[in-house]
């Protein structure tokens, strides 16, 4: 038996293999207000939550094979809160019976020295972006509506340029592996956002080129 994969290695003593179920879509800037209005009605009654995050994507390249990717994220609006380190596995989109994209997911809170630590480990930053937007929740479902901006001068998050005239809309749930029923809940929720937004199971590998 080889060493267990990173994704199932103990994190804080537990070995829960969490999967992220994901549906994605986008909404044009001019329809944003309508979408937010609808989400406020559909989601749990809570204070509107907004965020401005800076995400840095790190690669660790070996001699051969594929690089290993980690995502480091930190809030620009709340600089004191911990950084967030995330590993995402290969997305699985082939299963037709499943209504959402599924991928391994590992979330860890980290200290502010995370970028230095990753650099020391041999990781190198591949790209970075700034995401700002709104978070909604309904039970376990999470809806993130965010505007993506590219960072024009590396490391300077004040100088950004928006990527497109649309907001990215992501509907996600974290669940232990095998709980495919959550994807049914996601689909029924996504139905309620039509025709404003079409949340779909999008195979990201098709977007590579």
């Amino acid at each position: 038996m080889e060493a267990p994969p990173v994704t199932v290695m103990p994190v804080t003593g537990g070995t829960i293999n969490m999967m992220e179920y994901l549906l994605q879509g986008s909404v044009l800037d001019q329809a944003l207000e309508s979408l937010l209005h609808r989400l406020r009605g559909l989601c749990d009654n809570m204070e509107p939550e907004t965020f401005i995050d800076h995400e840095l994507v790190y690669l660790l390249k070996g001699q051969q094979g594929n690089p290993f990717i980690l995502r480091a994220r930190h809030s620009l609006s709340h600089p004191t809160v911990p950084w967030h380190l995330r590993y995402l596995g290969q997305p699985e989109v082939g299963d037709k019976s499943r209504h959402a994209l599924v991928r391994n997911c590992l979330d860890v809170a980290a200290s502010h020295s995370l970028p230095d630590f990753l650099n020391e480990m041999g990781f190198r930053m591949d790209h970075e972006f700034v995401a700002n937007g709104h978070i909604f929740r309904r039970g376990a479902l999470k809806v993130v509506v965010s505007k993506l901006s590219r960072v024009l001068v590396p490391g300077n998050t004040d100088n950004t340029e928006r990527l497109s005239l649309s907001y990215l809309v992501e509907l996600s749930v974290l669940a232990p592996a095998g709980q495919d029923t959550v994807s049914d809940d996601m689909r029924s929720f996504a139905e309620q956002l039509k025709p404003l937004v079409h949340l779909e199971k999008i195979d990201p590998s098709k977007q590579r080129h």
């Binding site: 080889e2 594929n66 649309s166």
Partner: protein
């Protein structure tokens, strides 16, 4: 000639009989209505504390049903037109008439010149008559052209209002109105661009110099088209080397998991 007179008389008799019968049936219907109203008013005045709303509605339904039957009776072809019958007061007297009082349940004790115009009235009330007179005077004052114009304006207003009521979702709700114009609220190309950006940094400026990895494959390996799926990466040596800038050995295993649902 005499035959004709006989015929006329028999016709007259028949008509009289018919009139009498219809008046009788009308009286009985009105009596029913009166008793229903009476019991309803009694209930409202004395039993209002335990009167249920459904029973109030029942009473209303009863009254309205009886009014309907009376209307039906009046409209019936066999009922002679009461409008053609003339009632003439033969005698007026300021004295009390007990017989009359009994007939009218003490409502009309005397048949005097004071009350007869009210009870035998066939025209509207004086106030209503006054109003009607004013209206017709006004109508006469307006010329036919002006009247035509006003009719047209009113018709226009009515049709506009009807149109609005028939299409209640237009205008009122700007959101749905926008939707009706089929204004798209999303752009599939934008979706793809954004998904590519979060997944691989597509369209985002690259910070690193081109490395050993081919630029065509900056992120994860091409997994979707081929058979192998779960990518397993183990980092060896890095944890055991304090201060080592680069991990000495990185083992990358791509395992072809045959039992994976993707291969099914």
């Amino acid at each position: 000639m005499s035959k004709c007179r006989l015929k006329c008389r028999s016709k007259q008799q028949r008509e009289e009989k018919q009139l009498e019968a219809s008046v009788d049936s009308l009286i009985s219907r009105v009596a029913h209505l009166k008793s229903a109203l009476h019991s309803f008013i009694y209930k409202l005045e004395n039993e209002f504390e335990r009167l249920e709303w459904p029973s109030v509605l029942d009473n209303f339904a009863l009254v309205s049903g009886q009014l309907n039957t009376i209307n039906k009776l009046l409209r019936n072809e066999k009922t002679p037109s009461f409008r053609n019958q003339v009632i003439i007061p033969l005698e007026l007297s300021p004295d009390r008439d007990d017989e009359l009082a009994k007939l009218t349940e003490q409502r009309v004790p005397v048949f005097s010149h004071e009350i007869v115009p009210d009870h035998l009235r066939t025209k509207p009330d004086p106030e209503v008559e006054e109003q009607e007179k004013q209206l017709s005077a006004e109508a006469a004052r307006i010329g036919p052209e002006v009247a035509q114009k006003q009719i047209q304006t009113l018709n226009k207003l009515c049709s506009n209002l009807l149109e609005k009521l028939n299409n209640p979702r237009d205008d009122r709700d700007p959101e749905t109105a926008a939707m009706r114009q089929n204004k798209p609220s999303f752009n599939p190309a934008d979706t793809m661009a954004l998904v590519g950006a979060v997944a691989f940094g597509k369209g985002l400026s690259k910070c690193r110099p081109p490395g050993p990895v081919a630029p065509g494959h900056p992120g994860q390996g091409p997994m979707m088209s081929g058979g192998p799926t779960l990518q397993q990466v183990t980092i060896g040596g890095a944890s055991g080397q304090p201060g080592g800038k680069m991990p000495s050995s990185i083992k990358t295993n791509i395992k072809s998991a045959s039992g994976h649902p993707y291969n099914r």
